[in-house]
Symmetry: C3
Subunit: 169 residues, 3 copies
């Protein structure tokens, strides 16, 4: 299997920047798969800031749901999925079957033509949310992270822009 | 002292699964000490899911408060306390003296006949809660984790099902 | 440059106690730079508890904003800034330019006459806050932590009173 890599971290932990640097070390042609949807001004500004930071050498594909097609597609030295948290949120918002979508993601990885870096949020280290939907999201995110972590050879945990190795050195 | 082990992690971090695997490596007779109280449907479902995952080779004891008696009891190769967070919540809910209860827990550990694995939540890595009771709980959880961590030879921090060693290798 | 050290952790993670122990190993004269403002009873009690724990061998300076002057001042074997999170909160509350203040902090470090230990909170590992101001604070804290982490030779992540090395061993 390719050296797929899950990059976990909190909000503003520097996880995307770390994943970008890892992708840039893999070759000159990088595909950035953005799952964010520019639904409001705040998110539009975040997307623009991410895009400006990446600069040249990156193709950008925006897809809120169909990340498996991007994992299977060729033509790049590395694929960066940013991020599984927004993908999960997009799926839940549309009432999709999270278990089936997770299985499809896991199944796509062994046949990927290039290494896939997946950025995901750690969201379970605060207090229990009072809102039931928030608890459900937190649980789903935790399960998704553990499922993907078990399926890839490398997992990093980023804080303040610096990685700790959880798996694979 | 026995190789007692504190397993920290966020919600849905895989900390219970990791602790169960550690306990299963210690011998065929495992006691699971559940501090959860099945107060509503959501918690009842969580307890059932945990129980189904463990399968054979586990005795289950449900006790919201008296974990010290379970630490002192013999007859198992390993004892898994899941979790200190619900135990703390149960104590606070009843107005118990947290300092005295913590002292009793720490004092019970050196004489335990079998290794005790203790699962606990990391709850302090979000923003400051607006609610004073939530802040008090967060503070008490942080202090409890540090007290227990200082008293045992092994401490792990689990994210996405994968452990980082905080103490004891 | 001096062996400046950023100490990250959640609330009640034991990060201040760890940083104090590190400072005490550097020499007998320690300066504690407190950025907390005793605005209410809860904060007043926290400040008193921190002060009681430190004991002898510490000078205490209270300054909500001007930490750079304390970094540049001589006369101590170690300077402990506790904490960047309250400093950031104080700056935002007064409408200061966070980018300029961060630059000034980074610029002060290379000329410091003594090692500076900086305590800061990890606040981004919970769910997305519903409140826009809370999101802005969380983002600013994450950026500040990453900026300082990049500028100093040592960074630790503390949980349950125990450090993980993020940078510098």
């Amino acid at each position: 299997m390719q050296q797929h890599h899950l990059v976990l971290g909190g909000a503003r932990s520097g996880k995307s920047g770390y994943a970008e640097a890892q992708a840039e070390a893999l070759g000159p042609v990088r595909r950035y798969v953005a799952t964010a949807e520019a639904g409001d001004d705040e998110m539009t500004a975040r997307i623009a800031a991410h895009r400006a930071r990446r600069g040249a050498g990156w193709q950008t594909v925006e897809t809120p749901l169909d990340i498996c097609a991007q994992i299977r597609a060729g033509g790049a030295d590395a694929v960066l999925l940013d991020c599984l948290t927004l993908w999960l949120s997009n799926l839940m918002h549309r009432g999709r079957d999270i278990e089936a979508e997770t299985e499809a993601l896991i199944a796509a990885l062994p046949n990927a033509p290039a290494p896939v870096l997946m950025v995901s949020n750690e969201v379970g280290m605060g207090l229990v949310p009072e809102n039931a939907l928030a608890r459900a999201f937190r649980d789903a995110q935790g399960r998704l992270n553990a499922r993907v972590a078990a399926a890839v050879p490398r997992v990093s945990f980023v804080a303040a822009g610096l990685p700790l190795v959880l798996k694979g050195g």
